[in-house]
């Protein structure tokens, strides 16, 4: 085997890996370019879509999904799926609101209580998947019901108006609230990307998702790895909930209803395979941005109100189809 033959396929594979995230990035940029062109202001002047403020807006709202997608994509890579993030987000906002307003806890303590929701929900999912060996879909569907159910029980249809006690221009550590969500999202994305690539436990997630039996025979502690991904997923969902309640000012049981499907779709658009073993944290976050841009830009197009569901559906299909075709080309 000569060094020459070695070089070609290595860089091809490395390319492929990189391409997978690059291609998601490319789609995102294409999408942005499209809307930049489509929404170009007729008379010149300020561009309604391409401006710093709007960029921040997209990031801020996408982060609610994006932070949760970091964990959800890890679950998918491990060969599972997590349907609970939306409900965990909601219960976190409710518990935080309840502790802060009703139980008069301090804000940090209330935030910890909110994150505790993530630990418990993730622990329950993990227990059901690892110990009872339920299929992840049904285990997390159950946890989704239980979590959201608790949120309804605590609120009884009311909401906790946290905005009453958080000053509107509040800037913890000097960072404006609006910046926090995007920053947290990017930091988590980088940290967990490195984790999945360079840390043994992260590599093991790929192994477990690729071939669970082989992972067991290889001495990987499959149970621990799975427990880890479900707990991380739920804790990040809870973190997203914390940011949601601080940013939006409300703890409410119906928040983030149905977001789990958007989050899963984002991860898949970003290259994750629902049969496990493949995916990327960065890709998943980029996936949420692709949807975030849609949610932001569609309302800017007069008359699009009734079309947004269709467009989102079409975008999901088209992106994944194009991706599939590109992947086949490359083979």
């Amino acid at each position: 085997m000569s060094v020459a033959t070695l070089a070609t396929p290595r860089s091809r594979w490395a390319n492929l890996l990189r391409t997978r995230e690059l291609s998601t990035l490319f789609i995102l940029l294409a999408e942005i370019a499209f809307f930049a062109w489509y929404l170009w202001p007729d008379g010149g002047g300020r561009h309604p879509f391409v401006n710093a403020e709007n960029g921040l807006l997209i990031l801020k709202y996408s982060a609610i999904y994006g932070i949760a997608a970091v964990g959800a994509s890890m679950v998918i890579i491990s060969g599972g799926v997590d349907l609970a993030p939306g409900a965990v987000i909601a219960l976190t906002t409710v518990i935080l609101g309840h502790q802060y307003l009703e139980s008069q806890w301090s804000l940090p303590a209330s935030i910890l209580a909110g994150l505790g929701v993530g630990v418990l929900a993730g622990g329950l999912s993990a227990a059901l998947v690892v110990l009872v060996r339920l299929p992840p879909f049904i285990a997390t569907l159950g946890v989704m019901g239980i979590t959201r159910g608790l949120a309804y029980i605590v609120t009884e249809g009311r909401f906790f108006d946290v905005s009453a006690r958080i000053p509107p221009k509040w800037a913890p550590l000097g960072v404006p609230l609006d910046w926090i969500a995007p920053i947290v999202m990017v930091v988590l994305m980088v940290v967990f990307h490195l984790f999945m690539r360079h840390v043994q436990a992260g590599r093991a997630v790929f192994a477990v998702g690729g071939n669970e039996t082989a992972a067991r025979y290889t001495g990987i502690r499959v149970g621990r790895i799975k427990t880890m991904v479900y707990v991380v997923s739920a804790v990040l969902a809870a973190l997203s909930g914390v940011i949601l309640v601080l940013g939006q000012g409300q703890g409410k049981a119906d928040l983030a209803t149905g977001y789990e499907l958007d989050i899963i779709a984002s991860a898949v658009i970003g290259g994750a395979s629902l049969s496990g073993g493949r995916g990327s944290v960065i890709g998943a976050v980029l996936g949420t941005l692709i949807f975030g841009v849609l949610r932001n830009a569609l309302p800017q197009i007069p008359g699009a109100t009734f079309y947004d569901r269709l467009i989102v559906g079409l975008v999901v299909v088209v992106i994944v189809v194009v991706d599939q075709l590109l992947a086949r080309r490359q083979e």
Binding site: P9, Q200, G210, T218
Partner: protein, 499 residues
């Protein structure tokens, strides 16, 4: 010139998978009623050629002639309809269906609109009995052992009444007596005029069953010869392109007991198993199908908890809760089924080689840069033929995949190496390499416990052989024993059971 006298002929057939040229202009014909062996090293293209005959792959160029007619197979269905059946090298069964349904899947016996379950069960029972496979047609396939599953795949092919029956390494999980039963059936088919194509790495079997042999090397047809008058030596030379010395190469067995297993039991699979392996020693573990060998080594490896018994490694008590514990103590297992238990097809070879070691290591950061060098060294040392360490293992031939699995374990620098069918489906060259490497590792002081259904292999490799029957140790034979000695131990037990 198309050979009008052939049952099946390939004309200038080529096939590439991406950059890999699996077949390069193969022209080869098989006479009607022949028992034709197809041999070649791992990755030579045997399975690919056979899959073309079964309508699974379409050739990139060239054509297929069947009874003198050009045959364009668009799907497996078309091949079956034409009377060409293939017993696949890989296990291809429906774990969720029972034995009868597996045999008839897609070709159910029908009465009117409905599937005739009763008829299928009756017919299945016949087929199973022919192969001396003692399972109920209503058993779920997920409950069958590897060997039973392999025989079941044969039974399925028999159900189709093919004119050309291709068997791609059908005996890799079988011991001699099962092979006997299988060959009896194949002889019968041949006497009825069925053309057989037999792919195998087991040279004695080829001499027993076949009349003609074709050899492939690197995707090209080397030649076709009548087997009459040929020696094993000739065939190996044709396949490998060189001579292989068949040295027994006895290593030196030390005094220290590496692995000491006493009274190990896991009901209902085995009980009262005592095995000692010394440093530098290679101990064989032999037994008939379902004797519980796999269960024993998996239990030692910490995949199952024993019900009774004690284990020691280098004199210290050893009770692993999980493979990770065993690996940390230097006890590793190369599992029986490399595809489902040994490899990650979503990950590059480099990960496949190092995951085990890294999972057992205490540190948590990986040094991907340094690892590359190690992986490339492993590839060279084991002579693994791969495009690079960055391709996933599905692009490798079976033998090379097996070497990856072995290399991954030796990369952990184990003290006790448990091997379950280490040369299953591996070509003579690779087998030779693997034996050589096992001996080399043992010589460095490792203790090896080798499970193999290939008795000649065990006799050549092991310092002594422990014989297992129905989960109990029947005795052991020392180096230099004959096949008869071993089989006697196994069959004696059978006679006492029958009494």
């Amino acid at each position: 010139m198309p050979d009008l006298m052939s049952a099946l002929a390939f004309e200038d057939v080529s096939k590439a998978f991406g950059g890999v040229k699996a077949l390069r202009g193969v022209t080869l014909s098989v006479a009607p009623g022949d028992a034709h062996a197809l041999m070649g090293e791992n990755g030579a293209g045997k399975s690919t050629l056979m899959k073309i005959a079964a309508g699974i792959h379409r050739p990139d160029s060239g054509r297929l002639l069947y009874k003198g007619q050009v045959l364009d197979l668009v799907a497996p269905r078309a091949a079956l309809a034409a009377g060409i059946g293939l017993v696949h090298q890989e296990t291809l069964l429906f774990p969720n269906l029972d034995v009868a349904e597996n045999i008839f899947a897609g070709h159910e016996v029908r009465r009117g609109w409905f599937v005739d379950r009763r008829a299928m069960h009756a017919r299945s029972a016949e087929l199973l009995a022919q192969l001396h496979l003692d399972v109920d047609p209503a058993t779920m396939v997920s409950r069958l052992s590897a060997a039973q599953q392999q025989l079941l795949q044969v039974a399925r092919a028999l159900a189709f009444h093919c004119e050309v029956l291709i068997l791609d390494e059908p005996t890799t999980s079988l011991t001699d007596s099962e092979v006997d039963h299988l060959f009896a059936v194949l002889e019968l088919l041949r006497s009825r005029g069925v053309t057989l194509i037999y792919v195998s790495h087991r040279i004695p079997e080829v001499f027993r069953l076949c009349r003609t042999v074709s050899v492939l090397r690197d995707g090209q047809h080397v030649g076709t010869w009548p087997l009459e008058g040929k020696s094993a030596h000739d065939i190996v030379r044709a396949m490998v392109g060189r001579d292989l010395e068949t040295g027994h190469g006895q290593g030196k067995v030390g005094e220290a007991v590496r692995l000491d297993v006493r009274g190990l039991a896991r009901h209902p699979h085995f009980r009262g198993v005592d095995v000692q392996v010394r440093e530098g020693e290679i101990v064989g573990l032999f037994g008939l199908i379902g004797a519980g060998r796999t269960e024993v080594v998996e239990t030692i490896f910490g995949l199952h908890r024993p019900d009774e018994g004690t284990m020691r490694v280098d004199g210290e008590s050893f009770a692993p809760h999980a493979p990770a514990d065993a690996i940390r103590r230097g006890v590793v297992l190369q599992p029986e089924m490399r595809q489902s238990q040994g490899l990650f097809f979503n990950l590059p070879i480099s990960e496949n080689l190092l995951l085990a070691r890294e999972a057992a290591r205490n540190g948590w950061m990986r040094q991907l840069g340094r690892e590359r060098g190690e992986c490339e060294a492993l590839l060279t040392r084991w002579g693994i033929k791969a495009a690079s360490i960055d391709v996933p293992p599905d692009s490798l031939s079976g033998g090379n995949q097996q070497k990856v699995v072995l290399a991954k374990w030796l990369a952990t620098a184990p003290r006790v190496l448990l091997l379950d069918e280490p040369t299953k489906g591996v070509d003579v060259g690779a087998k030779h390499d693997i034996h050589h490497l096992i001996r080399q590792e043992a010589a460095l002081g490792m203790g090896c416990l080798v499970v193999s259904s290939d008795l000649p292999e065990l006799l050549a490799l092991a310092d002594r052989i422990v014989v297992l029957k129905q989960g109990r140790v029947q005795g052991e034979v020392p180096r230099g024993a004959t096949e008869e000695d071993v089989m006697q131990l196994a069959t004696r037990a059978e006679e006492t059971d029958a009494a």
